[in-house]
Symmetry: C2
Subunit: 204 residues, 2 copies
Amino acid sequence: MDPYPKPLRDLISQLKRLPGIGEKTATRLALFILADRANLSGELSSCLKRVSEQIHLCPVCFNLTDSQRCAICRNPERDPSLICVVEEPSDVLALESAHVYRGLYHVLHGLISPLSGVGPEDIRLSELIERIRTSQVSEVIVATNPSVEGESTFHYVAKMLQDAHLSVNVSRIASGIPMGGELKYMDQVTIASALRYRRSLKDI
Amino acid sequence: MDPYPKPLRDLISQLKRLPGIGEKTATRLALFILADRANLSGELSSCLKRVSEQIHLCPVCFNLTDSQRCAICRNPERDPSLICVVEEPSDVLALESAHVYRGLYHVLHGLISPLSGVGPEDIRLSELIERIRTSQVSEVIVATNPSVEGESTFHYVAKMLQDAHLSVNVSRIASGIPMGGELKYMDQVTIASALRYRRSLKDI
């Protein structure tokens, strides 16, 4: 016999769909939500409703937004000649947290991955070409993760722009030992990359 | 600048109120909920709403229920002369999972803890006395955790029932080495308890 009433059991099942949350954690969260006197369930419920109703993709860069265009595309201080191509919206947050980049973004919502059945037409690549074609873009920085899929997407983007005869520079974010990292803990590919793309003293 | 739109930021803040969920996990969950195509946000939102609307405490044992009385109190096969006293609803689940106990429960919703300002009147103790007074109860099993608060609540319950001159047996769940546990990893108090409450061969 299940000692929990059905609405609680349903909430536990739904919480279990979240990444990294199993039966025990879902039960703990559900009981916490229920025991909370500060109306956590009401607040969460209305937040979830608002998120699904109000959040959509920016028609220009496909970042998440609740207004017509996203805050970055709307910002007149951002440099529209630079486009940074990323896999997903959380990558925009990561890059913004460095406070270095002042251009615009383009969120692909995926990476080319033949093994998972994701082809170039499944991600926002045609929109990227169209965007570069219709605006003054001087450089496209491909900031996908340094994984097999990230690298192949980078090469695909470079080839695609070349084939379209668009006069735009394509660059790739640097790969190497992260700040504070230690050589002895690094994998071979990272070390090889750090050596291969070493900078000459005069460039530093 | 916050690159996330407000409804998403609000959802992250609410998720952060859950136990064990910090900024990074909350962001990951919120983005997962948003990216999910199977309407996770809608399902979760309606589950939360139903939970807060339909779940209440059973007026007899104070376990969680969505009907007039809880499933255990309603079950005619449970022995009404046995009451197992626990701290919170999740303890009922833990005890039920052992498939051994066939009596009823009484959920205190807390333990006596003077340090946290929780006194006997803050938990469901007067309701327990009243329940024992008005029904045929032969034994009260106190199954609070073997912590300082759990032990003092046990002693308080025992004294309370004695003072009320109720002819009911009070017992405490056993404390000792858990099955599969190893002596060398056990704390002194557990080992002392296992020795002190050793069973004679004839009782096994």
